[in-house]
């Protein structure tokens, strides 16, 4: 991620006598780098003079893979991008394809997708703050968060059959409708989650040691945040009032009552506070969605896009052929291109699809928010201590699966 590419690599020791400074490689397998990130650091004692994040160890070529399969077949690959919020990725990809096809999905599908997105926001933020707390030395905060996250994973398992790799969305709808009684389980989870969140809050947020570690560290000014293209909670923590759910409402977010959480100082502590409060707002949205969950089908009634009902497949020849065509050829999307950004837990996840017609995309491009969040590290880290690295990286809350794709 050097600013200009030169080969061979330039010598790292920037100035002064050689031997006074030290080059330290952190990663790719290191407990604080949240995945396979490698940081090349130039140190003067404990002070970081230069930082060079080296990414790409988890590159799998997802964008190229997408060109060789149907739209629905690519949904499982989106699970593996931001693997802490898989359903939000599924939904963002489906929304982009639907924008390309000009499909208006059903109201019930929208409400279910909102619930899924907000649940995955909670899981992602829980992992984010738990890793953050652990990096600051509080293992108990980590375990408290994971206890709650496991409960959400159980809800996901009931809904989709998988705890982590959910692959729930389909173009024009969802893989399946809600199971019986699931909304009740969800509601009782919400009721228990808020006190548990308060407990996490009490354990760490006001802890003097934690405040000392996080406050005033890694300050991102609003201008800087926008220049580096930060999105999501990291941008809002810098005091920029922006949220795609409010600014460009999708999935009917305009019908839900919630607040955009913004920070004041843009330091690590603000990023912590914003994530904690966003989880409360997500619970608010989920409760409203449970309350006005519409009835009706979850998939659009378009035989070129979505699968026919299962009992029809078992009885009618036409439905069987239709099922076969949609599964093998993929949903028939028109020619054209579309870009869609969704407000994911890590930031704005954008998909850009070019279609030449048919069920396979011609080109897919992913705008990963983690990539952008990580790129500011090289500007933030110099001037801080080695011990600040875990706190800073934890507060930026990125996922290397999405960064490298």
């Amino acid at each position: 991620m050097s600013k200009e590419f030169t080969y061979p690599e330039p010598p790292m020791l920037s100035e002064g006598r050689i031997g006074e400074k030290m080059i330290l490689n952190m990663g790719p397998s290191h407990p604080s780098t949240h995945g396979v990130l490698r940081l090349k650091l130039e140190l003067d004692g404990d002070l970081i003079l230069r930082c060079d994040p080296i990414i790409g160890q988890l590159h799998r070529g997802d964008e190229k893979i997408a060109e060789n399969m149907t739209y629905n077949q690519f949904v499982p690959y989106t699970d593996r991008m931001d693997y802490l919020a898989p359903i939000a990725n599924n939904v963002a990809f489906a929304l982009c394809a639907e924008k390309l096809a000009g499909i208006e999905i059903t109201e019930r599908c929208k409400a279910i997708r909102v619930i899924c997105c907000e649940l995955s926001r909670i899981t992602s933020h829980l992992v984010g703050i738990s890793a953050y707390a652990m990096d600051a030395g509080s293992w108990t905060g980590f375990m408290y968060c994971y206890t709650q996250r496991e409960k959400i994973c159980t809800l996901f398992e009931e809904l989709t059959g998988a705890r982590l790799t959910t692959s729930y969305s389909r173009i024009g709808g969802l893989a399946r409708d809600l199971p019986d009684g699931w909304l009740g389980n969800l509601n009782s989870f919400c009721n228990k989650f808020l006190p548990a969140l308060d407990e996490i809050d009490k354990l760490i947020t006001r802890n003097r040691i934690f405040v000392d570690r996080a406050a005033g560290i890694g300050i991102i000014t609003p201008e800087q945040a926008m220049q580096w293209g930060l999105t999501g909670a990291n941008l809002r923590a810098s005091g920029v009032n922006t949220d795609l759910r409010k600014d460009v409402p999708y999935l009917g977010y305009e019908n839900y009552d919630f607040d955009v959480v913004i920070g004041a100082g843009g330091d690590c502590y603000d990023r912590w506070l914003v994530r904690i409060e966003e989880m409360r707002q997500s619970v608010r949205i989920i409760r409203q969605a449970i309350e006005k969950m519409p009835d009706g089908p979850v998939n659009v009634a378009n035989p070129l896009i979505s699968l026919p009902p299962k009992d029809g497949v078992l009885r009618n020849m036409e439905d069987l052929i239709n099922n076969f065509m949609v599964v093998t050829q993929g949903p028939d999307l028109p020619e054209g291109e579309a870009y869609f950004e969704a407000e994911n837990p890590k930031g704005a996840l954008g998909f850009y699809i070019i279609s030449r017609g048919g069920g396979v995309p011609y080109r897919v491009r992913v705008r990963g928010p983690s990539f952008v969040s990580l790129s500011i590290a090289q500007e933030l880290l110099p001037g801080h201590n080695i011990s600040d690295i875990p706190v800073l990286l934890g507060s930026l809350d990125f996922v290397l699966g999405e960064c490298d794709r």
């Binding site: 330290l24 952190m26 600051a136 030395g137 108990t140 375990m143 354990l203 000392d212 570690r213």
Partner: protein, 375 residues
């Protein structure tokens, strides 16, 4: 003062076999004292895992079983449930793993470091009075050694542990252990100062009560009235904080903070050498608990202003040892409790806290008691 060892010394004058017996007994007593510290270290490993599981709402280790032992009806299940066999399994794992020495290390110091880290703990264990017994109408410590400068000895030997960390970090010839070694060296030396000042305050306070205030047993025995944590609350607090820093426990474990330095000075170690470090850490914690109990928490006295009556004979001795061990167990629990509650300081914050808060407070405390005594 007469200790257990000196009782046998009389026999040494009789014959050559008396001398041999005396030396053998010395070894035996040393072995027992080392075993007590080691047992506490081992048990605190188990306690750490169980207490942290309790704090975090988990179960902790409860599956490991040794085939024949686990089949014993009640005991086997008890040991299994409480993770006590996990301890043995871990120790055996450390013993039987391959022990590679990386090619880039300085072999001599690399091998010497774990021993250097563990040995001071066991040596200092010799002066800790685990309890008392009565003989010839006076009170004697149940300790391997009882001599007049035992507090100085304790401070001197326990400072040596810093060399274990420095040697390991330097000889590993690797960057993260090196950073960890410099940090731990600076931290331990800084907090040694606070520890020294609080002990000096304690000694001058004890000097008003006993004839030999540098003897750790006499200082401990001087708490038959009020314990020193009551008469010197600030000193006790500073000593406790310094102990946390000395033992590299959270919130002061900057030198092995796994978040940024992988595993601190142990990064290049594996197998039994790592096991020695591991046991050494818990040995430090157990020893620190013993020191705090001895110096500030009334040693073997059950309650402030109350002591086990001397005319109960050996029952009182047993009770005194029991009291001491219960207090030590509580202190170990306290150490663990703190670790699983608090986040970690940053290195410069630790140093700032040490030099600009604890040392001035310690000096103020010292001056306060100096004035109080001279009045």
């Amino acid at each position: 003062m007469v200790t257990l060892c000196e009782i046998t010394a009389g026999a040494a004058e009789a014959s050559i076999w008396g001398v041999v017996g005396h030396v053998l007994l010395l070894f035996l007593f040393s072995f027992i004292a080392a075993m007590v510290v080691m047992t506490f270290a081992g048990l605190s490993v188990v306690a750490e895992r169980k207490v942290c599981a309790f704090i975090q709402g988990r179960l902790g280790p409860n599956r490991t079983a040794i085939p024949i032992v686990a089949a014993i009806p009640l005991l086997g299940n008890f040991l299994k449930r409480n993770g006590l066999m996990q301890l043995l399994a871990d120790a055996l794992k450390f013993l039987f793993k391959e022990d590679p020495i990386p090619g880039h290390v300085n072999k001599f110091w690399y091998m010497a470091a774990p021993a250097m880290f563990l040995a001071p703990v066991l040596i200092v264990g010799a002066v800790i009075p685990f309890g008392v017994y009565w003989s010839d109408g006076s009170m004697h410590p149940i300790a391997v050694a009882d001599f007049d400068l035992s507090i100085i000895f304790m401070l001197a030997i326990s400072s040596l542990t810093v060399f274990g960390g420095l040697m390991a970090g330097w000889s590993s010839n690797s960057k993260l252990p090196y950073i960890a070694a410099t940090r731990s060296g600076a931290q331990i030396i800084s907090y040694e100062l606070t520890m020294g000042i609080t002990i000096v305050t304690l000694v001058i306070w004890a000097a008003t009560m006993v004839e030999n205030p540098l003897n750790i047993f006499e200082v401990a025995a001087a708490q038959s009235g009020l314990w020193f944590c009551i008469t010197q609350p600030l000193g006790a607090f500073l000593f406790l904080v310094a102990l946390f820093a000395e033992t590299n426990r959270l919130p002061f474990d900057v030198s092995e903070s796994e978040a940024d330095l992988v595993s601190g000075v142990h990064t290049e170690y594996g197998s039994f050498k790592f096991g020695l470090f591991y046991v050494g850490e818990y040995g430090h914690m157990a020893l620190a608990s013993m020191l705090f109990v001895t110096l500030f928490l009334g040693a073997w006295y059950p309650f402030p202003g109350c002591e086990w009556p001397s005319d109960w004979g050996w029952i009182s001795s047993v009770l005194s040892v029991f009291t001491f061990l219960v207090k030590v167990a509580f202190m170990i629990f306290f150490f663990i409790w703190m670790r699983w509650t608090l986040p970690r300081f940053r290195y410069d914050q630790v140093m700032r806290l040490g030099w600009s808060v604890l040392v001035p407070l310690g000096i103020a405390n010292f001056v306060f008691y100096l004035v109080l005594i001279s009045l």
